[in-house]
């Protein structure tokens, strides 16, 4: 069965959501997630039996992708570490519920995203978004050269509101569609589109400031 993904699937661990990026307008340019690690069935079987060594192996493999995603969304190392720990605890508690209908990494990524968004909601930071101005045209130009500077890009991302940054990260880095992001963030696809558009322009502006500073 390959039913289309509901754009409004609830964003909770009670809910379903896509594990792999759905097809979207980006076609072949859709990004590959850092989570995309193949996990052998034998390792999962050992984890299901409760073997601590298997859990540690899974932890070691996914520690960085989970932490990085949480850090990008939350923007705070402490919150990211908490999200990592909670994600891994949920993985260990629920690995028996993973039934293998999709890649394991997608299942785990969903938990990680929910954990990170949960923290943003708790602190009401998911309400922090760029205001809409009615001029949300698609910014399809390539990034400025400063985007190749990891430190500059990270600084610029850190200056975006949390919800805007989350939309940008989920879209550009994880390959989610606007409908999927809307479901995850309990907002509308138009919210996701406008935040992507405005956020991309803001990010470009911030990076251009960085460039001019270094010229």
């Amino acid at each position: 069965m390959s039913a289309p993904t509901s754009p409004f699937a609830p964003a909770s661990c009670l809910a379903f959501a896509p594990a792999v990026p759905a097809a979207d307008a980006r076609g072949g340019a859709a990004p590959r997630s850092a989570f995309a690690i193949e996990v052998p069935d034998t390792l999962l079987a050992r984890a299901r039996r409760g073997e601590a060594a298997a859990f540690e192996q899974l932890y070691r493999w996914f520690e960085r992708p989970v932490y990085t995603l949480a850090l990008r969304l939350c923007g705070d190392p402490e919150e990211a570490a908490e999200a990592l720990q909670e994600t891994m605890l949920k993985l260990l508690r629920r690995v028996g519920e993973y039934r293998g209908q999709g890649p394991f990494w997608g299942w785990l990524r969903q938990i990680a995203i929910n954990e990170a968004l949960l923290r943003l909601r708790r602190n009401r930071r998911l309400d922090e978004a760029l205001p809409l101005d009615g001029h949300d045209f698609e910014d399809e130009a390539p990034p400025p050269p400063a985007a190749a500077d990891a430190a500059a890009l990270q600084r610029a991302l850190a200056r975006l509101p949390a919800a805007t940054r989350s939309v940008l990260w989920l879209y550009h880095a994880e390959g989610y569609t606007h409908e999927e992001i809307a479901g995850l963030m309990q907002r509308t696809p138009s919210f996701s589109k406008s935040q992507l558009s405005r956020g991309t322009r803001r990010l470009r502006a911030l990076l251009q400031v960085e460039e001019s500073r270094h010229e």
């Binding site: 661990c13 009670l14 379903f16 594990a19 997608g106 990034p143 309990q186 907002r187 138009s190």
Partner: protein, 241 residues
Amino acid sequence: MNDTPASPRTPAGWHEAFAALPQEAPPSDLWPQLAARLQAPRPRRHVPAWALAAAVAALAAAPALWWLRPAPSTPPSAAMSAPMVAGTAGATPAEAGPLPVPAPADAPLLAAVAVPEPEPAATPAPAADTPAPRRADTTGADATLQRLYAESARLEALLAHLSDGFEPAEGVQVALSASLRGRLAGIDAALADAPLDERERAGLWHARVDALRQLTSLAADQRLHALYGTSAGGYALVEVY
């Protein structure tokens, strides 16, 4: 375009720029803490009586506040007409299709992982405490959905708080809770899998909120009975029969 020797090639797109960012590592190795939590018996969080009383009072006041609030411009019409999909979280299309998020129940830790039996008394995860601010671009249907999302998130937050570290001891409560969670999983499956029109989607979200209200009410009741050492069997039996 490239002027400084230190600056690498300009990325072709934002996804390439984001993908080139380094993977971050946590400031310290969290595995020892995690392993310790796995080995330890699952902690029971002692929630002060006043906090429980406040949570229960808030829950009791919720329906009143719900009805006292200013009437929405588009009253929910599709409430409770949503199809109840039997089944549990987990059935999803293979590979490229949507994947299930882990099912609702929190299982116990390491010991129970070997026996992956769904345990109903658990903590649903995410949650929010307040609705997102309404945007001018939302349509009537959007506004209804937004209200349901917010209500759903509020209830999940309260439910997570009430359920965290707490496991109901009575079989009837477990059965009732499991039944409600199964219903919730069915609703989520329907929301995730089927192409839905606005009316169907709103109906499912109404049903989801309704199921969450019942679960939250049950969890609050369980905590109160646990606090005062009384039996909740009567309540549960009323619900069951």
